[in-house]
């Protein structure tokens, strides 16, 4: 286990380093630099001023040199400033990360709970398999942004029960929860598919095993057979799904946060790229990738704990 974690942490470091270089390159190829925007906003800024500012900010240096300078600063713990928000980047990043983790946590809990529930019921009850299958197909096919729009139309516009977007700051926990319902529902639903499918097929396989028949024959109540005997074995592939799905959850957060105007990591990445705030965009992207890879690592560790055979 320790070796797994240590090896994976090294791997994560390598991926982050490569990713930062590639994204830096991609950002160098995006239209406009911060001074183009400044010139567009302020007609008194002359070309000479812009050139002087470019030299001052180091924007006239080659891309590779700027990247190395940036990487050195980051390794020293200096994360720079956000151009869009005009504060140190970390001041924007931490609240956004917290907001996203809350969203992701609830969505993961709900989608895993509902998906696994559907899969188990589908495998145990005869004739209920189509329900898990159908929900999985729908969840897999529905575009997350469209589901969000539909929920807004239904619950915010037509019924007026829930807010269409925002965070509900300063309204206490209950108010924040009200703003969380629709985004969590959207993100949870599109992520149900993998859980439902894999738990359905894994449970079907386990329920056909001899040990399940034995458990039944010795007179255990059905609930005990399903949850006490079959499910722990079926849980192993389901945890694998959780590990593979971390990326799609984070991707989903970008869409959900953009639609529901929640200031989280996803919206931050989108807004900062759209607003040429490259420093913030790069940091946010690396942080999102780090969170995803740590989540995958956590799922892998859980898998080892449930199934010690994997260690060999």
């Amino acid at each position: 286990m320790l070796r797994l974690v240590a090896g994976r942490l090294v791997q994560i470091g390598v991926v982050l380093a490569i990713l930062s270089a590639l994204v830096w390159l991609a950002m160098g190829l995006m239209p406009g630099d911060p001074l183009d925007l400044a010139m567009a906003a302020d007609p008194r800024l002359t070309a000479e001023d812009a050139a002087r500012l470019r030299a001052l900010l180091g924007l006239d240096r080659p891309l590779a040199e700027r990247y190395l300078a940036w990487a050195a600063a980051v390794l020293r713990g200096e994360f720079g400033f956000s151009r869009l928000y005009a504060v140190p980047a970390t001041e924007v990043l931490w609240p956004a990360l917290r907001s996203t983790l809350v969203l992701l946590g609830w969505a993961l809990l709900l989608s895993a709970g509902i998906g696994i529930g559907l899969g188990v019921i589908g495998a145990v009850r005869r004739g209920a398999g189509w329900l898990a299958d159908g929900v999985a197909l729908l969840a897999q096919s529905i575009p997350g942004f469209w589901l969000g729009i539909l929920l807004i139309i239904l619950f915010a516009v037509e019924l007026g029960w829930l807010p269409a977007g925002g965070m509900g700051e300063g309204g206490g926990l209950g108010e924040a929860a009200r703003f969380l319902v629709l985004p969590v529902a959207t993100l949870a639903f599109v992520n149900i598919a993998a859980y439902a499918r894999h738990s359905l097929s894994a449970m079907r396989e386990e329920m056909a095993q001899p040990y399940v028949r034995t458990a039944r024959m010795k007179g255990l109540p059905p609930r005990q057979v399903v949850w006490g005997h079959a499910f722990p074995n079926a849980a192993i592939p389901v945890v694998t799904v959780a590990a593979l799905d971390a990326g799609s959850l984070v991707s989903g957060a970008l869409v959900t946060e953009t639609i529901f105007a929640r200031p989280g990591m996803g919206k931050l990445i989108y807004d900062s790229i759209m607003g040429n705030d490259y420093n913030l965009a790069l940091l946010a992207l690396l942080l999102a990738a780090l969170v995803t890879m740590l989540a995958t690592l956590a799922a892998d560790c859980v898998q080892r704990l449930i199934d010690p055979r994997l260690a060999h």
Partner: protein, 277 residues
């Protein structure tokens, strides 16, 4: 059953895409010309699904959108499957460091959140590579290239796993003994035998590409207006929500049906491969 249902769904949408030109001539409306007096028109005889925020016929835009969205889906599936199969075959056949490098890259790509990276790549100014800016064709090309760059991974892993088992079988040894070159062994003998899993991966790639294209276009980074795609027709949905909710429904239904169709085809192919009919 699943296979046919999926093919029927995709076929119906494809037919709509093909018929877009005829429908336009027959209805006599121009889906690209704004008519500001007819914004958010309700459904009527002249406009069966109403008009959009610039007064253009929604049905015709959906049909034209089908062309773009399905073309992107098919092109990405072709590219990703071709690249992925080649990479998977190469990794399985060559083994050693080629295998580990390819699979490490695949693992790395799979472990990352795709959409934020797609957003970054989609924001790259293709004009710097000498491509014309702001033309539908270069938008489509850009999005296809980006999605292929991420999409080959799934196919590569499936193709590699399938090819590894095939390469240990006797018929491969027999082909080698009878003097077939390595290239011939891979292309004429192994490739047909891994067509099953590769087909499933290709169908899933169509589903993934349609979904990804619509999401990027919705975010304003994919196909740029005035060319319609199902995704960019929803890009000002936030405004539609209050003025014309039904306008926000139809493009989404089209995306849903296309993705569900491709997923059903993949499911059907997989079951057929397992002998489940």
């Amino acid at each position: 059953m699943r296979l046919w249902l999926g093919l029927a769904l995709l076929g119906a949408l494809g037919l709509g895409a093909v018929a877009a030109g005829w429908a336009q001539a027959w209805m006599g409306a121009d889906p690209f010309a704004p008519d500001l007096m007819a914004r958010y028109g309700a459904a009527s005889a002249a406009h069966p699904l109403g008009t959009d925020e610039l007064g253009r016929d929604l049905l015709l835009r959906l049909l034209h959108g089908a062309r773009v969205s399905l073309a992107v889906g098919l092109a990405v599936a072709l590219g990703a499957t071709g690249l992925g199969t080649a990479a998977g075959l190469l990794a399985a056949w060559r083994g050693g460091w080629v295998d580990s490098v390819l699979m490490r890259v695949a693992d790395g790509l799979l472990a990352l959140p795709a959409l934020p990276l797609l957003v970054v790549l989609a924001a790259v100014d293709t004009g710097r590579f000498g491509l014309p800016r702001g033309e539908a064709a270069s938008d489509i090309l850009r999005i296809v290239v980006i999605l292929v760059a991420f999409g080959w991974v799934g196919t590569a892993r499936l193709a590699r796993a399938a090819a590894l088992t095939q390469l240990t079988l006797d018929y491969v040894a027999a082909a080698r003994v009878s003097g077939a070159s390595e290239g011939r062994v891979l292309v004429r003998h192994v490739l047909p035998n891994i067509a099953g899993p590769v087909g499933v991966a290709a169908a899933l790639a169509v589903a993934g590409a349609v979904l990804a294209e619509s999401t990027l276009s919705f975010l304003g980074l994919g196909i740029q207006p005035p060319a319609p795609s199902w995704g960019n027709m929803l890009s000002n949905a936030q405004e539609m929500v209050f003025s014309a909710p039904m306008q926000a429904v139809w493009p989404g239904v089209c995306i849903l049906l296309a993705v569900a169709g491709a997923t059903l085809v993949a499911d059907g192919l997989r079951r057929r491969g397992q002998g489940l009919g």
